[in-house]
Amino acid sequence: MSTTIAADEALACRIREALARALEAPPEAIPPTAAQGSLEKWDSLGHLSVVMELEAEFGLSFSMEEAIAMRSVTDVMKIVKKRLGGS
């Protein structure tokens, strides 16, 4: 169980770092609770960079549905885990 938690934390960390790059903010400015609307730079324009940066970070190509659904770090976690898990 603890390994899953550690893996989740590592994944959340990668996601937050990708978000920081996309939004040109320091990583500490992206809390685990970050969401569209809660961060000034994460507007619709910033979201395009977020999607591009996440795709590059994980080597994935998201569908438009997925890209639209990524409204928070938690949403991104769910989608990325699903894609990486292959299930």
Binding site: S44, L45, L48, S49, V51, E55, F62, S63, M64, A67
Partner: protein, 586 residues
């Protein structure tokens, strides 16, 4: 002193903000801003926000509604279509006069309507041909506006999946991330070229870099090069590509661990060598440390380490050079020779804004330089050598015929450069035209050949003229003390490092002194503006025999400045007067 950031403005009729991020990444020296979305016409008609460089991205169906109709297989008006593109080209031409450098990305079909079939080149809906014709209109404008560059969209995006439908649907971004990165790379290298930071010399290893195999072990007859062998073909293609760069003005040199005679024999005798001895400006083929060899080569060629690229298949050699000479660009090099041409292309550090006559002659000029140094060795003493050179210096005013080369010299020279002013051709010509200003150009020749235009003086009799607006200035009162007479200020003093140390600098100073006398100036003042790279001119100024130094101001009296006796100075116009600064005070 940190240089001010280079201001880039992106103008687009699609969402281009993500490109700003890729362009600015890791480049504190570039400040990128984006004009309001889809306001291309307004942005071009406006003041362009004081940018140093503006880049315009447009979609052809947004520039021309008639083209949009053609794209949709609707009936369209061919003449009106041409007029719409003409109007845009005219707008671009006007905009070019408001910014130092303007780049326009050439038109490509929208990615969701890529015409690949034969019918796209044939009437009635010949969209491929219409776009080609529209791009030719841009090229025609670029012909007559030298600060207007075209960025070839198709070339830039070759091999890239350029469109991401989801990004377009979500935010009107018409380029995928790889496409935006490709544009960012290309634009950065154009910026480096504008700022005179392109690389000028490629130092190459030989074994398994220029040919397959080890010449010392295998013998030149057994090297893999050309022939029907796929590996040999890869090396031959790589050499052809290097040869193209060399013809365009990039210098080639060799740093190889080999017996010199064995390696040179291979270069001379192998029937499939594309690059021959004459294509290299210098070489170090020995068993010494490559970093030391490169440093030595660069000294011989009078270049800076920051203009060098080192290519070697051996990671240990690359690592050594990277650690010892951090200014040298040492790219990771693929193990597979088939990838060499792409690896070279991907460096994108050899951009120039224009290809000049000097670029095309560069290798030959450096070879003449080698003969000169050999003559120096033979002549024994430096003095005898200088006399043996038969130096001829020709001075002219800046004019239409030499302004392109003069601007290139002004913008590319780093070492012997008093104030490192960077100006476009138009701005430089305009400065020279102002009352009390003159720009003199110097062409140099010796018995080994012509160097071309290698020196520049920007002179001013206006007391307030400073080489650089941001330059700190003090001591105004005692230098420009009116009772002691007026001052001729040297604003720009640029000499190509290829001619340094053979009397050209002194000759130029003597010409400035003539101008000073003619304008009744009793002193000449040169204000040194330090940069990380212009120590050579400081060393020259500080060593002048009759110079008075006051901080970064160097003050000279005209009567102390003479043409060295081994230099013959001529003025092809036959009349002296036009060369000198107008005395605006009369």
């Amino acid at each position: 002193m940190a240089a001010p950031a280079f201001k880039v403005l992106l103008i687009a009729d699609s969402t281009i903000e993500p490109l700003a991020r890729f362009l600015g990444q890791g480049r504190g020296d570039i400040d990128v801003s984006v004009a309001p979305y889809d306001q291309v016409f307004n942005a071009l008609a406006g003041d362009l926000g004081g940018a140093d460089f503006a880049v315009v991205f447009t979609q052809p169906h947004k520039v021309s509604s008639e083209f949009g109709r053609a794209l949709q297989y609707e009936p369209f008006d061919r003449a009106a279509l041409g007029e719409e593109f003409d109007a845009f080209a005219g707008l671009v031409a006007k905009a070019a006069s408001k910014v130092a450098t303007l780049a326009v990305v050439t038109w490509a079909p929208p990615p969701w309507a890529l015409p690949a079939s034969g019918y796209s080149w044939q009437r009635p809906h010949d969209v491929s041909r219409l776009l080609a014709e529209a791009n030719l209109k841009l090229a025609a404008v670029a012909d007559s506006h030298r600060n207007l560059l075209l960025i070839d969209q198709a070339g830039c995006l070759a091999g890239v999946t350029a469109f991401d439908p989801k990004l377009w649907a979500m935010g009107k971004v018409i380029y995928s991330r790889p496409a935006l990165e490709a544009f960012a790379r290309q634009i950065r290298c154009v910026i480096d070229a504008i700022r005179g930071r392109s690389r000028k010399l490629i130092v190459l290893d030989l074994d398994n870099t220029l040919w397959g195999g080890i010449v010392g072990d295998d013998g030149w007859q057994n090297l893999k090069l050309g022939g029907i062998d796929p590996i040999g073909e890869s090396y031959a293609l790589f050499q052809r590509q290097l040869k193209g760069l060399q013809r365009r003005g990039i210098l080639l040199a060799i740093a190889s661990k080999n017996e010199e005679s064995v390696a040179l024999e291979a270069i001379r005798n192998h029937p499939e060598m594309v690059l021959r001895i004459d294509d290299f400006v210098a070489w170090r083929i020995n068993w010494r440390d490559k970093a030391a060899n490169i440093a030595d080569l660069v000294r011989e060629l009078n270049l800076g380490l920051e203009s060098v690229v080192f290519i070697d298949d051996n990671p240990a050699e690359r690592d050594l050079v990277r650690r010892s000479l951090p200014e040298v660009l040492v790219p990771d090099w693929p193990a597979d020779p088939a990838m060499f041409p792409i690896a070279l292309y991907d460096l994108r550090c050899f951009q120039t804004v224009h290809v000049s006559e000097e670029d095309l002659q560069r290798t030959r000029m450096y070879q003449q330089e080698r003969q000169r140094s050999e003559a120096l060795d033979a002549a024994g003493t430096r003095d005898k050598w200088l006399r043996s050179l038969s130096m001829k210096v020709r001075v002219r005013r800046l004019e239409q015929a030499n302004v392109a080369r003069a601007a290139q010299l002004l913008n590319k020279t780093n070492q012997f450069n008093l104030s490192t002013r960077r100006l476009t051709e138009a701005a430089f010509a305009d400065w020279a035209e102002q009352p009390g200003h003159a720009v003199l150009t110097f062409e140099v020749e010796d018995r080994f050949g012509a160097y071309g235009l290698v020196g520049l003086l920007g002179l001013s009799t206006i007391d307030g003229d400073r080489p650089y607006l941001t330059a700190p200035f003090n001591g105004d009162s005692h230098i420009l003390n009116p009772p002691q007479g007026a001052v001729l200020r040297i604003v720009d003093w640029v000499v190509s490092c290829r001619v340094l140390g053979r009397g050209v600098e002194e000759t130029m100073l003597a010409v400035a002194a003539r101008s000073a006398r003619r304008a009744d100036c009793s002193r000449i003042v040169a204000t040194y503006l330090p940069t990380p790279r212009n120590k050579p001119i400081l060393a020259f100024l500080a060593a002048l025999p009759a110079v008075q130094r006051c901080g970064d101001d160097f003050i000279m009296a005209p009567q102390d400045c003479h043409v060295p006796e081994y230099v013959s100075l001529s003025d092809p116009s036959g009349q002296e007067a036009p060369l000198y600064v107008d005395d605006h005070r009369r």
